[in-house]
Subunit: 316 residues, 2 copies
């Protein structure tokens, strides 16, 4: 009888649903400190603490290593490194779990900005009745950058609110604009939504030049990765009124420290990387991992397979 | 050549778009103080200041009076009185102008509550990074009270977000539940939305008994009229956690004074009766009035005709 495979879990909280694998797998836990020494003993690695960037430093150049790495996140930027990309190890992600929650979160931000809700709450705190006109979202235009399942869910949800939505992806295809059209689409959008994976090509793509293309009445929303945005440029765009407002759920450095100037930029909503995390999300991530594990155990092809050179799961 | 009709405008700001009627109508202005004395001289009355309740006291019992009253609002509770109801004067309202804006506003509140946005803004003010799980709205249930065009627009918009929405109206009909089903629908709703006209039958309908039927995880939203809700009962429901939260855009007494206890009820969002008022709304109201005026002038039947006994425009 073959030895049970070893599943290494990076993270301190045990993932839910792993009980279904009892007797078929040996589960061990690693933290950022112990990861490098435990990796050679693992057949599979589950990155449960998706805030950890430890794998990038710990991946063994040669010798024994996991044949499969799964991350309980949509983005894979926190784990990809040239050695992992060059290896024959499979990498999968949590594609699908976050799509609808993130799309709803974007809709919540867009509507809150259109209806001036942050100001309403401020005035409520001051016990001040001040009627204002707000905006209709139906008939406005959005430009959503990122054409994977999250971007497409955002497109559907904004579209359901009557917002004409253009998707921008790495390559032009049916229903998706290529990067060459981004400047033109940003310039006419009322809402620019960043939902792209973080790769060498997308890092810093929302810089001062691009933000300056936007209409002064337009808003910028980032639910992708903090590094997609040049934060200093966004602060300037808000302070100098290049744009009307913004909402960031992700940041170059997370968690945002109490001294960060971003907390108090006028017209900016700051939220703590929570857009996809609706009640039950950890259960869903655990269930998804167990389903993938059973395919891997059976030698079946894995869905959600990351293209390690590109840094995301290529779309249909 | 016949004398030009006299149009009396209740309100101090001249309505936009009236210029289109130049030469065909004599326009005079009244305020709350002068209304009673000017009414007998008017052929038509435009209630442009829809906050005024002066007509209820000023309507002439007999003798000369306007043959048509139009209010630049959806609700007519501020102008209806038994004498006006008994007269042969036509009453029209601004049906149609507010439907989509109010539906978007309700969606904004529902999403903001689901995504815990008020707390996010509080934590931002305190420079505190605190990740929380939030709710998905897709798959939840709403009960919308009010089956006119506003209620139906809310049903469509919440439905587009994946929320299963039941409409409750004065009479059961295709796609609309009757009042006898309200208790059952409120008890299973995640969102109860009040968008009914204020009439004798609807006044105080959201009382302690009904609020106590709601799930502790559910939210209450009022964009109809303040008097639909027993405000003390709602405060108790929030303080004693019968329900998870609420948002009020309308109040029994408006504007809400700085001493109102409602400003600081935990879990309550207070906004200043602005749900329908999107940029351009005054122009839309002016355009709509001019269109109605031209029909009236030509002796054509008027749309948006209020059933004065019921207190609203009966639906199709």
């Amino acid at each position: 009888m073959a030895e049970k495979p070893t599943l290494l879990v990076l993270g301190s909280d045990p993932p839910p649903r792993l009980g279904r694998l009892t007797g078929r797998v040996r589960v061990e836990y690693a933290d950022d400190r112990t990861l490098a020494s435990l990796l050679p003993t693992a057949d599979a690695l589950l990155i449960w603490d998706f805030h950890s960037r430890a794998l990038r430093g710990a991946w063994p150049g040669e010798g024994p290593r996991p044949r499969w790495v799964h991350t309980a996140s949509a983005g894979v930027d926190h784990l990809m490194c040239p050695e992992l990309a060059a290896s024959d190890t499979l990498v999968t992600n949590a594609r699908g779990v976050f799509d609808q929650p993130i799309a709803e979160y974007v809709a919540a931000l867009v509507l809150a900005l259109a209806k001036d809700l942050p100001r309403t709450l401020e005035l409520q705190g001051a016990r001040e009745w001040r009627h204002r006109e707000s905006r209709r979202v139906a008939g406005t235009r959005a430009c959503v950058v990122g054409s994977g399942p999250i971007g497409r869910a955002i497109e559907r949800t904004l579209g359901a609110l009557g917002i004409t939505t253009a998707l921008v992806g790495r390559t032009a295809r049916d229903g998706v604009h290529g990067p060459g059209e981004l400047d033109r689409l940003m310039a006419r959008a009322d809402w620019v939504v960043s939902a792209a994976p973080l790769t060498e090509e997308t890092s810093g793509m929302f810089d001062a030049r691009r933000l300056a293309l936007m209409q002064p009445s337009a808003y910028f929303v980032n639910v992708g990765r903090g590094q997609l945005v040049v934060e200093d440029a966004l602060v300037r765009a808000l302070k100098d009124r290049w744009i009307a407002g913004a909402a960031l759920d992700v940041f170059a450095h997370e968690p945002l420290g109490p001294d960060s100037p971003l907390w108090e930029v006028p017209g900016l909503i700051v939220s703590p990387h929570m857009s996809g995390d609706t009640v039950g999300w950890r259960d869903e991530l655990g269930t998804q991992f167990v389903e993938l594990y059973e395919l891997w155990e059976a030698g079946e092809p894995l869905p959600n397979l990351v293209d390690k050179r590109r840094g995301y799961v290529p779309g249909p």
